[in-house]
Structure formats: C-alpha cells, structure tokens
Amino acid sequence: MTIRPKRIIVQTIKELTQLGRDRLTLTLALGLPLILLLLFGFAVSLEVNKINFAVQDLDRTPTSREYIATFEGTNKFNIVTQGADVDVPKLLDRGRISAGLIIPPEFSRDLQRSGRSAEIQILVDGTDANTANIVRGYAKATNNTFVQNLPGINTLAVSLHSRLWYNPGLETLKYVGTGALALTVTLFPALLAGLATAREYEHLTILQVYASSLSGTEYLLGKAAAFWLVGMAEVLLVNLEAWLFFGLWFAGNPTPIILGSCLYIACGVLWGIFLGSNTKVQSAAIQAISFTAFLLSLQLSGFIYPVANIPIAIRWVSYLIPARYYIELTRDAYVRGVGWFGVWLQVLALTILIGLFFFLAWRKMQKMQVNS
C-alpha cells in the first residue's frame, strides 16, 4: 500500500477543478443543503397545535355551550363549525376536521340529575395514528377539566407541575433543527463523490487511472479528500444558516462536533465512492446513494422518530448508519451541552465506520485492473 502525499494532492486538485467546471452542479451542491435545511426545519413536525374541530350540538342549552367553551378555552381546539345539523362523519370524510363532538339532546338534563351521567361522543380521525392519539388525549383531558369545574366538585387530588429540561420553550425547531443540520450535509458529499466515481467507469477514464502509476489507496484518498473539502464547506455554510434561522449555537464544548463533522463527512464520501465503484453507472449510483445515504438516514437515524421505536429486527441497520451517531452529536452540541463525557462513544463509532467504509472502497479499487 504505497502512499505518496504529493500524488494524493494532485488527484484532489484534479477532482476539484473538474467539479469547478460544472457550474450548475457546484451551485446545487452548495445551495441545496441551505434550502433543505429550511425545509426540514420548518416542515417536519409531529406537533399537534391547532386541532380543527366541529360540534354537533343537539342540546343547545347554556350548559352545552359551556362544554363547548371549555374546548375553545384550551387553545388547542379550533372550532370550524358548530350547530345542530353539523354532519361530523362527513366532515371527517372530507378531511376538514381532525375530530368532532356530538352532544346529545339530553346532555344538560342528565347532568343536573344526580345518579345519571351525561354522555358525549367524541369522533377522531384515525388516519394519522400519532395525531389521533394526541387529539384523543386532549379531548379526554378537556372533558375532565369540564367535570372538575362543575359546581359542587372541589379539590383536585394531584396537581402536576411539568418542567421541560434543555428546551423550555419546547421548541421543536431546536430539536428538528439539529436533526436537519445533520441530514442536510449527508447527501451531497456522498452523491458528488459517487457520481464522480461512477462517471470514471462510465466514460472509461478509469483505464487511464489504472495505467498510471497511481496506487489504489492514493486514488481513493485523493478523490475522498476533494469531496471531503466540499462537504466541510457545506457544513460551515449550513451551520451559519442554522444559527441565523434557528438560533442554534454551541451549548457547550464545540470540539466533539467539529471532530465529529470531519469524521461524518469522511464517512459519507467513502460510502459514496464505494457505491459509485460498484454501480459503475451514474443513474444507478444516484439511486443507490439517494436510497441508502439519504432516505435510510432520514428514516432510521432518529431524526423524526426515536430509534428506540424501531423494531429490533431492523434496528441493527441503524447501528451502521453514520447519521444516527452524528445526530446524537449535534443534539448534544447544540442543545444538551454535555460534551465529551456524553458523546465519546458516538465519535468512536464514527471512526469505526470510516475504517469500514474505507476498507470496502479500497478492496474494490486496489487491484487497479479491469475485470475480465
């Protein structure tokens, strides 16, 4: 395994020049992550804030109106329409509401009579199970609030005081923003590296590489270094943008995340080169990279959904995904601020993955021979 640094540098400069000539690609490579960051940060959320709500009030007494007012007072429910002839199931079908109430005609009468309890029907749209769960919970809690406010009923048994640690405003933006940061720098280094590699096979310029005195390792390192530089530029820009738009700044020691970013970009680039040299065709390389580096990272890294929720059978896959470790690093760096004590394991994992991906890519290239 010969390594002559000068050759690596020459290879890197050649790759960068080639990249620089393709203006469109360069602009997209640097500009796209910026746009994606905003998109991810703002569009991705599982929060339930404004629940569109309809009420069919068959009772129409001050009591029933008070019941409805309790829902309005929570600031979570937004009444779209109410009245005696509101067709709640139809509104659910149309998707105009997420939930609805049906107050029966005997509501206030039953309430006033002791020994009877008044019945309410709550209808919830179950298409999105997560939202449905939350809506159902809010509805029940609001119902209980109404009962507790009824005259004659007094003290609450237990009053719960909640404090939110690290993120007092429960700003989804901080949570999603850190995840978005990690994700936006995932795709492009891998993609560009993979495309460049696949193109060499497609246009057969790889033969010139074989014929030269460049060794497999030098070629690999040179290519990787070039796209690593582009990746680090992206990291810088994206971090700047995250600070501007999401207010993300270092909560503690910045060194783990800086080292982690270097390692992570290297992972991505090496994986891209590995896929590129295997698929050998640009369009296939793109598909492979976008599905593995991007989509898998998006879904299995803990960005939107916690890793602990992934069934064990698939969870092992997430151990191999660098993004998973990188997200934990960004979350610690920008929100928790614990530092090396909390995240040394993640940094170690990234280092191991670099070794693995490098080995895979090298194995493919080391022979520097055309496969007969």
């Binding site: 959320s45 599982l46 640009q282």
Partner: protein, 382 residues
C-alpha cells in the same frame, strides 16, 4: 375493433414497442423501478413508528407512603411507560435525565400522603428530557391524561364515600376513532410512502430516459422518423406508465400482506388517479431533463425538486403539524393532493364525490405540466 387495429398499426405503437424493448433491455432501470418500492415500503412501514412505548420513567419518592405507591401505579398500567429506576435523591435522577437515560423524572414530595388524606391538592413534579421535543410533548400528554384519570377516580371514590351516592363520572365521553380503530401507526406512513416512491421514481426515470437519449445522440434518429414529436414523447412516456402501474400493484399487495393496509374504496378509482398523477411526475421529470445538459445535472436538479415535493405533501409528517405559512405552501404541491386521494381511497373508503376537488386540481397540474414539457422538448428537438 377498428380502433384497436388503428392503434396497433400506428407509428405510435411502433415507437412504443421500441421504447418498451429498450427499457427491458436496461435491466438496471427495471430493477430500479421494481425493487426499491418493495424494500423501502417494508422498511419505512416498520421503522417509522411514532408509537411511544417503554418510555423510561424515573421516580424519586420522598413520601414513601402507600398513597404514593398507589399514584405510581398509574405508570405501570400502561405500555407507554416503564418505571426504570427509583431514586433516593432527586439530583441522581436529574443526572440520568441529563445523559438521556430517562425520558421523564417524577418527584413526589414528602407531604404527599398527608395532602391526599387531608383532601388538599398534592403537588407532584415532572421533569422532561425535552431535547426530543416530540417525544416530550407526547409523554407529557400521556402523563397529564393519566393524572387526570387518577384525579377523576379519586373524585369518584371521595364523593361516593361522602355519601353522594351514585354520582359517577359526571360526563362520560365515548371516543370512536374513525378509519383506524386500532390506531395502526404504519397506515399513515405506508399510504404516504406509496406516493413518495411513485413521485421520486417516476420523475427520475423519465428524466433519465430523456437525457440518456440526448447524451447518446439518438435524438437525431428520432427526429428522422416519420412520427410527430407528440407521438415520440407519448411513446416514451407510456412504457413508464405501465411499469409504474405495476409498482402500484406491488406496493398495495405488499402493504396489505405486511401491514394489513385496507383498501376500503374503489381500486379502479385509485389506479386511474394514480395514472393521472404519474403524468404529473413524469412531466416534471421531462421538464428537468430538457433543462439539463448531462445526466448528472438532471439527477441533481431532481434532488432540488423532489425533497420539497415530498416534505410538503403530508406523506410522512402531517400537514396539520406544519406552521401556518408552510401549510399555505403545500397547496402548490401536486403530491399533496395525490396523498389525500391515496388516504381517502385506502383508509376512508370515500369515492369521487368527496375527492373530485383533488382530482380536478391534479388534472389541471397534469395538463399544464405535460404541455409545458412537450413544448420544451419540441423546442429542443427542432
């Protein structure tokens, strides 16, 4: 019969056969079109579960009383939480919270039992690890519910003890969950993933085809055939349509087998609207291809276009959770309407009378995009 004869002997059909054969010879493309939907549907359906289970709860019980233990029971009664550790000191619990070992830490004060016995309101503190804002808000929602139910139960016990006999839950609410009584989390994701896969694959494949032709230089040969430009384009698009329709079938069957995803509405309606939507996806792909000079540029531009389309469509995260100004943006996204149709037909079982709104908009999108892409393509050909 005559119509079929006319089609079969037309120039369009000849070109169609050529395009079809070309695609099948390109094994990689066929694999690209058929394998990812299956694999990813399964992975996403299983992996993306906002089901919250086994959230770790830490308890610091300073009161050490029977009343406190009864209160703690509420956490054990649900799958959502698991009491992971009892702490003697709140500081230790907070330390574990800081390193992410707990989702929520509950502190019960020493006066708890006393307060309960004297009918005073007892104060309990809950500390959440809110770095994961979504889990924290769901956990706090659950816990608030549990405490609320506990309070209601206490109320009942007390009032019946105080001989206000028979006064049970003053208002009993009966909740029915429509369309998904079992609250299967996978249904939301899987119905959305079908849309994602079709969009992404459709636009990429179309772009690939067009650009490949450009790069290979066979465009000139196409121009020399007696077929008109429209026929050329239609012939390119139709084999893709066929393959994508196969994709829909595969996805639906898989979803049914693996996730028990229902198909409550009309399958034919879904297929027709899918084909309509493919026109949209493919037009987008062709438009991208006509503006790009190389395969690499095409694919990169597709990456410019696809993520916004996917993220703003409500496929994996609900549109109702997005900030208001972003919700306005989603109206510009054709995929949003397609996802609404998918979910409407698959889960709600509604038909055209409810979905005509979305179908109309999709038709408009398809017409506009298709004519734009054909015009661009023609300009390039000539």
């Amino acid at each position: 019969m005559q119509l079929i004869n006319a089609i079969l002997s037309s120039r369009f059909w000849a070109l169609f056969k050529k395009e079809f054969a070309q695609i099948f010879r390109n094994r990689q493309l066929v694999i690209q079109l058929l394998v990812p939907p299956t694999v990813f549907l399964i992975i996403f359906g299983f992996a993306l579960s906002p089901d919250f289970q086994n959230l770790k709860v830490g308890i610091t019980d300073y009161s050490n009383s029977r009343a406190a233990r009864e209160f703690i029971e509420i956490f054990k009664q649900t799958d959502a939480f698991v009491v992971s550790r009892y702490y003697a000191d709140q500081q230790d619990m907070v330390a574990d919270l800081a390193t992410g070992k707990l989702t929520v830490g509950i502190t019960i004060p020493p006066e708890f039992a006393d307060d309960i016995a004297r009918r005073r309101t007892a104060q309990v503190q809950a500390l959440y690890d809110a770095v994961d804002a979504n889990t924290a808000s769901i956990a706090s929602n659950y816990i608030a519910q549990l405490v609320s139910d506990y309070n209601a139960l206490q109320l009942n016990t007390r009032s019946s003890n105080a001989s206000r006999s028979g006064q049970r839950d003053r208002v009993s609410s009966q909740t029915s969950v429509f369309y998904n009584p079992g609250l299967e989390t996978s249904w939301f994701i899987v119905s959305g993933t079908i849309g994602i896969l079709l969009t992404v694959i459709g636009s990429q494949a179309a772009a690939s085809l067009v650009v490949r032709e450009k790069e290979a230089g066979t465009i000139e040969q196409l121009m020399m055939t007696p077929a008109s430009n429209t026929e050329v384009i239609l012939a390119k698009v139709c084999p893709l349509l066929v393959l994508l329709t196969c994709d829909v079938f595969i996805a639906l069957i898989l979803a049914r087998l693996v996730f028990s995803l229902p198909l409550r509405g009309n399958l034919l309606l879904l297929l027709i609207i899918s084909v309509l939507y493919f026109w949209v996806g493919i037009s987008i792909g062709i438009l991208i291809a006509t503006y790009s000079k190389s395969e690499q540029q095409t694919q990169l531009t597709a990456f410019f276009v696809n993520p916004p389309l996917v993220l703003l469509s409500g496929a994996t995260t609900p549109i109702t959770s997005m900030p208001t100004f972003v919700q306005w943006l989603t109206y510009l996204d054709p995929m949003r309407y397609f996802i609404e149709v998918c979910r409407g037909v698959l889960l709600k079982g509604v038909g055209l009378e409810t979905l005509w709104h979305q179908v109309l908009i999709l038709v408009i999108f398809a017409t506009v995009l298709m004519s734009l892409s054909i015009r661009q393509f023609r300009q390039q050909l000539s």
